[in-house]
């Protein structure tokens, strides 16, 4: 701490150079944390889901396949299944279509048992269970669409060629914004049965079944039992934890994730070189000064620590600004495009990772100039006129 004042003064010595270095770091780290925040969303979902012992049953072929209602009834009957609820994607257009959000047909009687972390007033839940055209939305979506209980929510079919005329009967609170609308699957099924062709084929089915297990210990056995039971049926299943289900979405990104990783690595290397150049220039300008410090008795390791402290401080200031800006943009993106950025706050591990990268850049960019400074011959340093 004795040397902090000297380090701070050195950081401010060439204000323009320091500012430009900090800005370069901040802008790149802002971009990187934003991109990683986007990728990390699914991880957050998976981590949160782990708390609730939820399991997902879907067709072995993935989202292209369907799961019959019969399977839902059989899953519900299994030992260790607390509650199970079906999910069927509707994908309708609301209003002029500029507001895009998820709409699922489900079972009002079990939705809030499986998603026990969702909180809804009892009277609203009762209305949801009793009214055929009822729907519920989370608080964030209600605010976004300026909806209140009692409003009509007309949805125009895009995936299925029929419309839904829903009535908002409840607004639930969820720990994390999920921007979803839930309505009675029976209402959707009635519509599907009236269609011809592929639409009618979807009737009597759902896309996925979510169920809540009594404990985490029994989940592997439950998954195995379910998949074995339907292995030779016309609708084989793939049963997995909600966390594994969320990671499917990460895997779907596949090359995009790797692409972002490559960009991040190259940006980090470039940034390190830029910062190292700045540090090297700074050290060179101060050769005589460093020699004086060593002449009056500063040991090599103290000189090394002072110089590294300087580069790490600059990088961390840049990192802090970059991460803060990345977080701000992330929150803004959540407001503007909530289906793309689904959680409002950037995961803390992404921010920690950003700061760690910043510190690493500071260390890597400063190490060579700092070692050179520490090893500088006092005689050569005093002789040099910069």
């Amino acid at each position: 701490m004795k040397y902090l004042k000297y380090i701070l003064r050195n950081v401010r010595r060439n204000k323009l150079r320091t500012l430009l270095t900090i800005m370069a770091l901040a802008i790149c780290l802002m971009l990187m944390t934003f991109l990683y925040g986007y990728l990390a969303q699914m991880e957050v979902w998976g981590r949160e889901a782990d708390k609730y012992n939820r399991v997902v049953v879907m067709h072995r072929q993935g989202f292209a396949g369907r799961v019959p209602f019969k399977t839902l009834d059989e899953v519900r009957a299994l030992d260790g299944v607390v509650a199970a609820t079906p999910f069927a994607w509707y994908g309708g257009k609301y209003g002029d279509g500029t507001e895009f959000f998820a709409q699922f047909g489900t079972d009002p009687n079990t939705l809030f048992e499986v998603w026990s972390e969702f909180k809804i007033p009892p009277d609203q839940l009762a209305a949801f269970k009793s009214e055929r055209q009822a729907c519920v939305v989370d608080r964030a979506l209600a605010e976004r669409l300026k909806l209140k209980v009692g409003d009509r929510v007309p949805l125009q079919g895009t995936f299925y060629q029929f419309n839904l005329d829903l009535k908002l009967v409840g607004i639930y609170e969820s720990p994390e914004t999920n921007l979803s609308l839930y309505f009675n699957l029976k209402y959707l099924d009635e519509g599907l049965r009236q269609l011809e062709g592929t639409g009618s084929a979807a009737a009597g089915n759902c896309g996925t079944i979510f169920f809540k297990a009594a404990s985490a210990d029994i989940i592997p056995d439950l998954c195995k039992r379910i998949d074995e039971k339907y292995a030779n049926s016309s609708e084989p299943t793939k049963t997995q934890t909600e966390k594994a289900f969320s990671q499917m979405f990460v895997k779907m990104m596949g090359n995009i994730q790797n692409f972002i990783l490559f960009i991040a690595v190259f940006v980090t290397v470039s940034l390190t070189l830029v910062a190292a150049n700045g540090m090297a220039m700074s050290m060179r300008e101060r050769t005589t000064e460093i020699a004086v410090l060593k002449a009056i008795g500063f040991p090599n390791h103290t000189v090394l620590a002072i110089m590294l402290g300087e580069s790490i401080l600059i990088a961390c200031i840049g990192g802090l600004l970059g991460v803060a800006a990345g977080r701000g943009i992330y929150a803004l993106a959540h407001q503007v495009a909530p289906m793309v950025i689904q959680i409002s706050n950037m995961p803390w591990e992404v921010m920690a990772w950003g700061m760690l990268v910043a510190g690493g850049i500071g260390l890597a960019s400063g190490i060579v100039p700092a070692v050179l400074a520490a090893r500088l011959s006092v005689i050569d340093g005093l002789r040099r006129i910069v």
Binding site: K2, K5, Y6, G297, V378, I379
Partner: protein
């Protein structure tokens, strides 16, 4: 520092220093012998390239000899490791440079405080030492000024305060007036004389300036790496003349 040590401040015995440039070996000091008693004020003169600064650097523990001994305050510098030598310098040597070499981003106070950062003194104790140092050089009222806000003479006085703040055995000054006008140079020389007379500081000063050399109690000349007679009884003070071997390739 071993304050109880009562022997000579500096003993240089059969000192050789060679530099290597490409394939050339350039001898700078050749068998130099020198003894400086505690409380002495010695001026080293000689033409450029005679080895004055090299000798000063070796005495100050900034460089290592090719062979020979340098003993300062009883410590044989050749036996100290790099880190031990750095620690030794911080405790025993005060440096005064021609170009002052203050840290431009630090105030006069902070510049003087620098050597004390290497000591176990706390902040309050450091501040007391710094104030004392700046009072001695007459700049107590400028402690918050940055080097750019001071004249050359004032900068050199701050540098002298920095050199004496940790009460070293030896002050080494390399052309301390070389970059100053006549009046400022006189002030600096007065200050050095006072440090020697009042505070008993041993001073070894390299200078080209005969006026500066006149202020020293003793004067020795170096020519081509060999000490030759000065004009103030160098032999009586234990200064021995070395032999010139010329420059060998």
């Amino acid at each position: 520092m071993d304050q109880s040590f009562q022997g000579p401040a500096v003993v240089v015995r059969d000192l050789y220093k060679e530099f290597y440039r490409d394939k050339l070996t350039i001898p700078v000091l050749m068998g130099t012998n020198l003894q400086v008693e505690r409380g002495d004020y010695l001026a080293l003169m000689g033409p450029s390239g005679s080895g004055k600064t090299t000798l000063l650097n070796l005495i100050a523990g900034l460089d290592r000899p090719t062979r020979g001994e340098v003993i300062v305050a009883g410590d044989d510098l050749s036996k100290l490791s790099e880190s031990a030598l750095a620690r030794w310098r911080s405790q025993h040597i005060g440096f005064i440079f021609q170009l002052y070499n203050l840290i431009p981003v630090l105030t006069a106070f902070e510049n003087v405080e620098l050597p004390l950062l290497l000591t176990p003194l706390n902040k309050r104790e450091r501040a007391e030492h710094v104030r004392t140092g700046l009072e001695i050089v007459g700049l107590a009222d400028r402690m918050d000024h940055y080097p750019r806000q001071l004249s050359g003479g004032q900068e050199q006085r701050v540098a002298i305060a920095r050199a004496i703040v940790n009460d070293p055995v030896l002050l080494v000054a390399d052309e301390p007036t070389g970059d100053l006008d006549a009046r400022s140079a006189r002030e600096i020389l007065d200050l050095l004389s006072r440090l020697n007379a009042e505070f008993g500081k041993t001073i070894v000063m390299v200078t080209h300036d005969p006026h500066a050399a006149e202020r020293a109690k003793k004067l020795v000349h170096l020519e081509k790496g060999v000490l030759v007679d000065g004009n103030q009884q160098p032999r009586d003070q234990g200064i021995q003349v070395g032999t010139s071997e010329g420059i060998k390739a």
